[in-house]
Symmetry: C2
Subunit: 575 residues, 2 copies
């Protein structure tokens, strides 16, 4: 990966350049933070011509290291107005990496918006008009492009929400079998893609000549050890069968499961929507249903599934904890079939299911539809895709929706909806939501994994723990590795050194790798500082500091000053 | 004025306390900045229970000094999320001052919102239920309360927009003859009043025993001299006849008149909407039409008018430059009758006509209705009052409307609509909009008055000039004086010393008075700093830096760093 391709969406001009020695060290989330700070005016309009949409594989993106096909989208977020990196699995990332592309940068905006696709292959990169794709749903877009370009291309696209530049719009990616709709969901980067007039990016790596790794054998051996360590972790087995919803019952037990617009932390019908129930229904219904599916080639975690409707036909792929939490309990909807249908609608319209579930919860509190009304919720998501006035409100996400509908209980931090972990019952996540440049994003440092070692209801050690988790997440997002592979690094953090030595010939200690993670956080924070995005502006929602969350009946009580101490916390050089 | 009355809108409890020696020195805008910084958590939800609505006469509020009846409303703004002071004429301010009330502070929010009125008299302060006023228009509310409480009370109220907590909601005040609807319009403080469940405040000063001034004779003489100086200023004569629209033709000449959503700075039909035309039509149509009306008792400026419809019936009172600019040219509407009707609708629904005019301009750009469609515009304002989904979008002001409707040309700074001076053609106002804690607010320091001495298209001296203007505005807003009285202070700044000596017995030089103005700006800025409201977050709109404004074809080109130099500018101790 040694080329950078820049596409000017106004002039159509494509420029390919070689990476500098410094840029060579960047990948995924680190590259995005560096590019944004260097090239994007921090005070720019996120949907204007000075923002850029950056697509970047991780440093290990062209290696066989398991899960390393995750890749990053980045830009200034229309939702948070700060830096945003949103990563995703699927097939396109590895193909970009195999083409030797370190970053694909969409620049400027067209004079007048047209519907275009960007073709990227070993031979050329070019924009072509595709008016027939205008406002097409995501799966139909995939299907049309699949028919046109054949089975081996990777496809990235937006739905109508992205085209309408809605701040909750996501970017969708195919998996190897077009069974799943993966999404770089958070932060509204689909709207940034829409502002560039790019409906889809098609990656053809058939004639790619990937650069050979520095030491293929070392890489292979390290990966083998890594995969074995992963496979011997009982959590991985759970994820293969129960998916990310393996944690549903624990989340409920901890009382952090968002329920009825974050008014409770336990859901009466939780058993009906648990990971176990998902697996049972898949076993029962058979048909197209399946669990244990990888989202990137070679992934051993295989946490994805296709959830079938009662007749066995695919309802949605994949059905995950976050989406279930927000579209289910948070909307008082306890039927997996309804949740699957809602999730599929989000995927088709092209909106973040977390943001949308939180938004529907607020709309329900505003009595637009009653809590529990799944049919009503489907109608709301359809209206987002249609761009009705109500749909346009909802498509802007939970903060705008709350404001417009006159609701005070708005579950968001830094303009972005809180995901499936109420910070009153998992206080470490509150620290992450407020201090991460990403806003309310569990993938930026999820305290769920430390809930046994750090009291989730206490204040003590939350800041130190969040810092550690945020650095870990930043490292993995820079490598292009999935967050679910973190366990092996606990016993063998030098695995990173082996991977990077094998791929690039670099000699790095884990302390060096940790510095990469810290560099990500500091660079992102500096962008936000220059953009005027503060930790004060949209902190923990006021109601979460006032209203105890049943059944633990805790409020969020970590003072802002305590959270801001995170920037002076020094970490030991261990994972 | 030595008492502070606090009304807890949750418990209904009323507390009256004596001012401290320090508080005695505070009034109007200074008092609001000090109270907010001391008592309101800067990161609070503007519509939540920790925000306060503070009503404060100026330091000269209980004196006969001409125009001194202006008084201030303050709180954390739901529009800008920063400190907000919005002042207004009318009769209620002087009555509050005569009752000896330095500040009336509405605290907390009710458990469940009811429609209530707050009665304030020499005897008591109490909340009473008034369900019959729910969602009543402003003039009807005034009328009902006038019938109930008689001709001598002062009335403050909100319209349905405030009750629905819309961020563009204003607070309306009666004049002595109920001819005018005056509004503390900017920053959405009507929504803060709505969040407290207070539909109206009725001020009965019949039994007031105002404290005698320290030296009544000195005060009277100084005021006499002051009034004479004002009356000998030719600008005042113009204002009496042409109202604030006396500047319309000059604004057009300077090319700064917002036209068709800030896409031009001159309006083809400007002569049809000028101050001169207003006066002609009033002369022609007679009936209820009138110009040269005072908004506070004893005002010699008398810039208000009642604009009649063709039959001579009152269409609106008063019709001002700002509202005409935003509801007229900015919406491509060139008929005074249509503009008067739109302005009246804004008054009735209870929204800021500046914010609403800018919002309708954006809705027109989004093709919700065509530019120039006055009937459509009326319908939009009615929808705000009805709370339809579209109305709720528009009622949130121009930033939310632009976002939701997918428009990039959003004329706002710090979340608030730009008033009738496009900063590309009056660059000093750009400095004020960005650096003032108030956001885009011409009353915070209007470079229009210095357009002859500081090149409005140049960069040079804008920062120094804006600082001077901002300090002046802060002083006047603290005294309770109208911005239109600034001229006499140019030749005799020690008038302030005479007023304050006469009223309070204080011995202050003008340098001391200037420090009061600087104290206001610094206190407000500190609140915003703690609230995380930065000068970077919503600066000059991107399109104004890119798109030349015809006919001067200038872009806004003062760099943020240059504007931020304002904080280190030292002023000489002169007006």
């Amino acid at each position: 990966m040694n080329s950078i391709i820049r596409v000017n969406t106004r002039s159509g001009k494509v420029e390919k350049s070689q990476v500098s020695a410094e840029e060579m060290r960047w990948g995924g989330r680190l590259l995005i933070s560096k590019f944004l700070l260097r090239e994007v005016p921090p005070t720019c309009d996120p949907l204007g011509r000075f923002n850029k949409l950056i697509i970047a594989p991780g440093l290990l993106g062209d290696t066989p290291v398991t899960t390393a096909g995750k890749f990053s989208f980045g830009g200034k977020s229309p939702l948070t107005h700060g830096v945003k990196e949103s990563d995703v699995g699927g097939e396109a990332g590895a193909k970009i990496a195999r083409l030797g592309i370190k970053a694909l940068v969409l620049e400027d905006t067209p004079e007048t918006l047209k519907t275009r696709i960007l073709m990227v292959s070993a031979k050329e990169t070019r924009l072509t008009d595709a008016p027939e794709l205008k406002h097409k749903m995501v799966s139909e877009t995939f299907q049309i492009l699949r028919e046109r370009f054949g089975p081996s291309v990777g496809i990235i696209c937006i739905g109508p929400a992205g085209e309408m530049m809605m701040a909750s719009a996501c970017i969708a990616v195919t998996d190897a079998h077009d069974a799943l709709v993966r999404a770089a969901a958070r932060g509204g980067l689909g709207a940034v893609m829409g502002s560039k007039g790019i409906k889809a990016v098609v990656i053809d790596d058939l004639e790619a000549k990937p650069s050979p790794p520095f030491d293929a054998k070392l890489l292979q051996e390290a990966n083998k050890e890594f995969a074995q360590m992963l496979l011997s972790d009982p959590k991985i087995g759970n994820r293969q069968r129960f998916g990310t919803s393996a944690i549903m019952m624990v989340a409920n037990e901890l009382g952090l499961l968002p329920t009825r617009n974050f008014s409770a932390g336990q859901f009466e019908k939780v058993e009906e929507i648990s990971g176990e129930t998902i697996a049972e229904k898949i076993d029962e219904r058979k048909g197209e249903g399946k669990y244990g599916m990888p989202c990137t080639r070679g992934c051993v975690v295989r946490c994805s599934n296709v959830f079938p409707d009662p007749s066995g036909k695919k309802a949605v792929g994949t059905l995950q904890y976050e989406n279930i939490a927000l579209l289910g309990p948070n909307c008082d909807i306890g039927s997996l079939d309804e949740i699957a249908a809602l999730n599929n609608l989000c995927n088709q319209v092209g909106v973040d299911a977390i943001e949308t579930g939180a938004t529907i919860g607020v709309a329900m509190e505003a009595k637009v539809i009653p809590f529990g009304d799944a049919e009503g919720a489907k109608d709301l998501i359809r209206q987002i895709g249609q761009g009705t006035y109500l749909g346009r409100i909802l498509g802007q996400g939970v903060v705008v929706t709350g404001k417009v509908l006159g609701i005070r209980r708005i579950p968001a931090v830094k303009g972005q909806a809180i995901p499936g972990y109420d910070p009153r019952a998992l206080k470490g996540n509150g620290v992450t939501y407020v201090t991460s440049a990403m806003g309310a994003d569990h993938t930026a440092g999820n305290a769920f994994e430390t809930a046994k070692s750090v009291n989730p209801l206490g204040i003590e050690n939350q800041v130190e723990s969040s810092k550690k988790l945020q650095v870990r997440a930043a490292i993995l997002d820079t490598m292009g590795l999935c967050l679910f592979v973190r366990t092996p690094f606990g016993s063998k953090p030098e695995l990173f050194s082996l991977f990077l030595k094998g791929r690039y010939g670099w000699d790095l200690t884990y302390a060096d790798v940790q510095k990469i993670g810290l560099d990500v956080l500091e660079t992102e924070r500096e962008f936000n500082r220059r953009a005027g995005v503060s930790e004060e502006f949209y902190g923990i929602p006021e109601f979460m500091r006032e209203e105890p969350l049943p059944p633990k009946n805790s409020v969020y009580d970590i003072p802002l000053e305590e959270m801001q101490r995170i920037w002076s916390v020094k970490l030991p050089a261990s994972w």
